[in-house]
Subunit: 220 residues, 2 copies
DNA sequence: ACTTATATTGACCGATCGGTCAGCACAATC
DNA sequence: GATTGTGCTGACCGATCGGTCAATATAAGT
């Protein structure tokens, strides 16, 4: 029974798997679930196609595994944001966390975007469940801030969507952004400049006096 | 020679073509270029597959035709925005025009998004050419406004991208938005509420005193 | 009525799709 | 050294891919 013997996961297996996952994330993020082919993934991973199936079981299993991995990264960022403090720090943290997330995992973010574009066939439960609750709880906090006069009265959902979209844009539309900027990729200075801009506009636009406390995130 | 005889486009042909284009736009927008199949398009159009090829020539020709159609719609909206007036009206018009565009042509917008996600293989020239110029010319105007003290000094490109992304979000991420809102689609009230919110936050965030002139766009 | 151009489509092509499987390589166990 | 279990992969499967083509139907021109 293999269920009993631990066989403590040969170290090579993990390497092979992450190799496959990396290749698959690139391909799926570009072409979506249906547009991606196992052959292309295999080629990019430098393995025969049958090997992909051997490790991942099926195209769908590989895809949902990638989706889950990305959602965990995403959740980790979300739970790091403590809603205790003032609006300025919370929103500022949220903006910068999402910018970093997109820069750190560009393929994963695009994968997510392609899934949503296709109508979220694999994520509809997550969207209507976990994520919806997260939005609702955050919306309640924002509403409190408005009631306390800490910020303008705005629809919290639109605000959350605004931050989401404005940050997401630079990873999903990287082809458009670099096409227009005439640059291959965003530099670190770009990212910092964009983050500061979004911080400025969104906080000020919501009537939040920007606290100097967000300096704790800026390096120099 | 058919080149000489005009044969003034039989009326049925036009109907068939728009029927195919509609079906194709739906399928391409969901699955992207590679993920879409002519068979699915044909089924949705209620025609045999060979008929699609007869009218459109090839999958690629059909796809680029859809892209061009969407870009023309898009350009029409852009050129309607006259940069003569004050920042408040121009930005407000831009926000609302983009919201309307996304609501009017949701499939076309998603098609565009899928193309960019895939790395813009068919649109790289357009992005680095026409669109880049458009952004540059608008950026120059915004920079003037800043110099004249009409608004805060912000990077105009980030501002344009912000408006772009914030509006686009509600069409491309409609699956996510409706999943979170628990509604099938946005109502007219939603769209008006979102537009007003974006107007409020972005104008205020850029230090623009919101002119009452934007009332000309609000019906009641 | 006869010709001619166009519209329509079933049948088919080679290529590729996701997935299966038998068989080989290789190390560990007995 | 024979046995066993796992890693690995070439060969193959039916289905579907984009695209071609011959045949037929329909309409237009003469």
């Amino acid at each position: 029974m293999t269920a009993v013997s631990v066989t403590h996961e040969s170290p090579s297996r993990e390497k092979v798997e992450t190799n496959i996952l990396m290749a698959a994330e690139e391909v799926f993020s570009q072409y979506g679930y249906r547009g991606a082919s196992l052959q292309v993934i295999a080629d990019r991973a430098g393995l025969p196609k049958a090997n992909i199936l051997y490790y991942m079981g099926s195209k769908q299993a590989l895809y949902v595994r990638l989706l889950n991995r990305m959602m965990h990264r995403w959740n980790k960022v979300l739970e790091d944001i403590t809603p205790e403090s003032d609006p300025a720090t919370v929103l500022s943290d949220f903006i910068r966390a999402k910018m970093v997330l997109g820069q750190r995992y560009p393929e994963g973010s695009k994968l997510f975007a392609a899934e949503i574009l296709a109508g979220a066939p694999f994520l509809s439960d997550y969207l209507a469940g976990e994520l919806r609750e997260w939005v609702a709880s955050r919306a309640a906090i924002i509403r409190q801030w408005s009631a306390q006069g800490k910020m303008d009265t705005v629809d919290p959902k639109w605000l959350i969507f605004l931050i989401w979209s404005a940050t997401q844009h630079y990873t999903e539309y990287s082809a458009q952004v670099s096409g227009i900027l005439g640059r291959d990729a965003l530099t670190e200075e770009d990212v910092e400049s964009i983050s500061a801009f979004l911080e400025h506009v969104i906080l000020k636009g919501c009537g939040i006096t920007q606290a100097s406390t967000n300096a704790h995130l800026v390096e120099k």
